[in-house]
Symmetry: C2
Subunit: 233 residues, 2 copies
């Protein structure tokens, strides 16, 4: 919670806000973290966590603060996506909003509604209700950006558990790109991605357990410097 909460009108007639889109992956689906607004306007509607930026605050800092205040998520490094500023997107005045996003492992974090958030929940992108403001638009457009990044940067490993099976890895891409891949060919495709093969195996499955892998980030960063490998899916 911030030290002070200034009145809406103190932001004059124009104001900036940040909207913080958290993407997670569980049960074979990509989900976004939403809050239920316990405040006018759009009271009781689900929304992307977001709020106004203080006049002396850096954008990225604001994104982290707002996310923490509403959901309890702390120290999440956010990436800027796009800025939305239709003159009437906010019913109470001119508010231009800068959207930020981050990816995380749902099971690694605990979320807790606070401040004016009445509830917090992970919602599957395939099952999105009508959201407050232009948040459906913001979310859809940021998801497109996520999919683009999934093809060109190894951010998939921020969504997968720290140790994953090659099948889980494949399923994430099948979900995002809405198409099935051949198992054998998928393994060839990822041949050069630096992975660590562990001795450990999948637990509690009713069939041959798969080997667990993790992403070798150190080696990846090295290869970036060398220009010896560029991630591509």
């Amino acid at each position: 919670m911030s030290m002070y909460r200034i009145n809406f009108n103190d932001f004059f007639t124009s104001a900036f806000s940040v909207d913080c889109i958290l993407f997670g992956y569980s049960e074979g689906e990509i989900k976004a973290l939403l809050i239920k607004r316990a405040m006018q306007p759009f009271e009781n509607l689900w929304a992307i966590p977001g709020d106004l930026i203080y006049p002396d605050e850096d954008l990225e800092q604001a994104a982290e603060r707002v996310l923490f205040e509403l959901t309890g998520l702390n120290n999440i490094k956010m990436h800027q996506s796009q800025t939305f500023g239709k003159p009437n997107r906010h019913p109470q005045g001119r508010v231009i909003t800068i959207s930020y996003f981050a990816l995380l492992r749902i099971e690694d974090f605990e979320v807790k509604a606070s401040s004016w958030a009445g509830d917090v929940q992970w919602v599957s992108l395939k099952n999105m209700p009508d959201l407050a403001f232009d948040h459906n638009h913001i979310l859809a457009s940021t998801y497109e950006m996520l999919k683009l990044k999934l093809q060109n940067e190894p951010i998939c490993f921020d969504l997968l558990p720290e140790r994953f099976t090659l099948n889980e890895f494949q399923q994430l891409y099948e979900f995002a790109f809405e198409q099935a891949f051949d198992k054998a060919n998928f393994r060839k495709k990822i041949k050069y991605i630096p992975l660590i093969a562990h001795d450990e195996k999948q637990q509690n499955v009713k069939h041959r357990p798969a080997k667990l892998f993790s992403f070798n980030r150190e080696q990846y960063l090295l290869s970036l410097e060398n220009n010896s490998y560029t991630f591509k899916m």
Copy 2:
């Protein structure tokens, strides 16, 4: 020139601005259109054309208006890139700026400094002076975005002349990606890009003239609908 020009202080203590980055290509180099500021702050420094957004104005509309007011360029469709908002990036108060960019053929447009722009000029990215505000940073970061788009969308044809040789086409990519390609292999790479081969040939060269091509945008758009081809370099 707009109908009215409100005082800087009328934008309260916080304001939005747009910065309009125009990329062009000539003499084998990618260039950006800059203005010389005839106004404080940073008077006489070169800068990206940009100005404050009116409180009731759409962002994209603002970008087009500002570009026109400062450079005379009319009806240029701009694409959003990123938003910059460090609290002290503007010496006279809090200004968050949303950067937009567009590509055009330098020889197809005439630019003319007006409003508070003292001069306008195309400047090679390889030879960029110190710019006003954080404009070097904004420009560099938008150029990165341009390079990404050059790989995934056929925007190269917005930079090339309407009719171009395959070599000019190749040189544009060699400039952007700072690497040489094999001529024969480049032609294989672009095999599926829908081009129209004209009977016309290059003029005034001291050697065998190359055939001229143009981009078949209609066919490209059709193939987008069919999902029969996706541009990739």
